[in-house]
């Protein structure tokens, strides 16, 4: 890694200035690693932080998961899985920043979460909730850039606009790295499982995903579909290409693609409502 990148990595990963992880999460981590802990015990720990618990419940009831009505943390843990609840807890401080200051990116992320869930269900894939979570988190690197390198972010936006580039290309011009790499650094420092970190790291280059290519492909296609629909603001004004690898891995038909567009567009009204509700 060249000097500029390692310097950037140092700035970005300086944990003192990253949003702090609630102490609850550390204890949850310890518990989920021990085989003896029950879901009830873990739920009790999360519920002890009321703000965090409320945030997790709101997200669990968002259209990105949207097929359940979850009213307690232990329900959320059983229906969505401990991993999903843990990742939602980990990301809650980032979601807070997105909801308030980066509404466009927040709506884009919710939209991709929804689309990924619908794709996974249509294809009958296992672990739909994990896929939806990976999709919700896929652009987390962009939040880090906007937090840690505010000047660079402005520059990235203006270069992308002037030269008509994709955000990813503009990021390379300005910071010699991009949101997928930065998201991967963060995922690593949070010890997120591969099934979440690979889609974050490779949703623009599915070929590089080694262990979770299908999940990464779902997030990639969901990202393209939401960009095509123009919902939210990912920072990109152009729709990227659906990669051949992703298309081949998922074996979607054009008929299924058409059905998905219809289903997604119908549900986006709810996503919009949800986002307005969260901002209120």
């Amino acid at each position: 890694m060249d000097d500029r990148r390692s310097e950037l990595k140092k700035i970005i990963m300086d944990t003192k200035t990253l949003p702090t992880l609630p102490g609850v999460i550390l204890r949850l981590n310890e518990l989920s690693e021990s085989n003896k802990a029950s879901v009830q015990e873990m739920a009790k720990i999360v519920s002890s932080d009321q703000v965090l618990a409320a945030r997790i419940l709101r997200l669990a009831n968002s259209p990105s998961y949207g097929f359940y009505r979850v009213s307690t943390i232990s329900n959320a843990m059983i229906l969505l899985g401990v991993n999903v609840v843990k990742s939602l807890a980990l990301s809650s401080s980032f979601f807070e920043i997105m909801e308030k200051d980066r509404i466009g990116l927040w709506e884009h992320s919710l939209g991709v979460g929804l689309a990924a869930n619908l794709i996974a269900r249509k294809l009958g894939l296992p672990e739909c909730e994990e896929i939806a979570t990976a999709a919700l988190l896929h652009d987390i690197g962009k939040v880090v850039i906007s937090l840690k390198c505010t000047d660079a972010e402005t520059q990235i936006r203006s270069i992308a606009y002037e030269k008509q580039l994709f955000t990813l290309e503009a990021e390379h011009e300005v910071i010699d790295s991009d949101h997928t790499e930065i998201g991967a650094w963060l995922a690593k420092s949070w010890f997120l499982p591969d099934k979440l970190s690979e889609p974050i790291a490779f949703h623009h280059n599915v070929d590089l995903a080694e262990n979770h290519r299908v999940k990464t492909a779902v997030v990639h296609v969901a990202d393209v579909l939401i960009k095509a629909s123009g919902f939210g603001d990912s920072g990109d004004s152009f729709v990227p290409q659906i990669q051949q690898t992703a298309w081949d891995v998922l074996k979607l038909t054009k008929q299924q693609l058409a059905e998905l567009v219809e289903e997604i567009e119908e549900m986006l009204v709810e996503v919009k409502e949800f986002s307005l509700e969260m901002q209120a």
Partner: protein, 112 residues
């Protein structure tokens, strides 16, 4: 047809789909399609915690008050880098068809 939050419903709108108790077809059906909404009916649906309904036509502007022409123009612009690829051209056409159906002749604004 358009899906709208119940709070935006007004008397006179016509249901385009059956309404079910808990918002999906596994729930108890409470009101059938083609029913004309009245104030009383809307209040009743509210009391049942129905959040969304499907109504005929395209009554509420979804995204500002943009015409079909504007929407298709923006779609064209978003796809400008990938239109030459056959799969992406298909995806573009799927979206264009969707918008035409949503806002075009059958159930679109022109018929209101």
């Amino acid at each position: 047809m358009q899906k709208i939050p119940l709070m935006n419903a007004v008397a006179g709108m016509v249901l385009a789909r059956d309404v079910f108790r808990n918002g999906n077809s596994t729930g108890f059906p409470v009101c059938s399609k083609n029913t004309v909404l009245t104030e009383t009916l809307i209040t009743r649906l509210e009391n049942m915690d129905i959040a969304f309904i499907h109504v005929k036509g395209h009554l509420l502007p979804l995204d500002g008050d943009r015409s079909l022409g504007d929407i298709l123009h923006d779609l064209e612009h978003r796809f400008v880098k990938v239109r030459q690829d056959p799969l992406m051209a298909t995806l573009h056409d799927i979206y264009a068809d969707y918008y035409r159906r949503l806002m075009g002749d059958d159930g679109g604004r022109q018929t209101e």
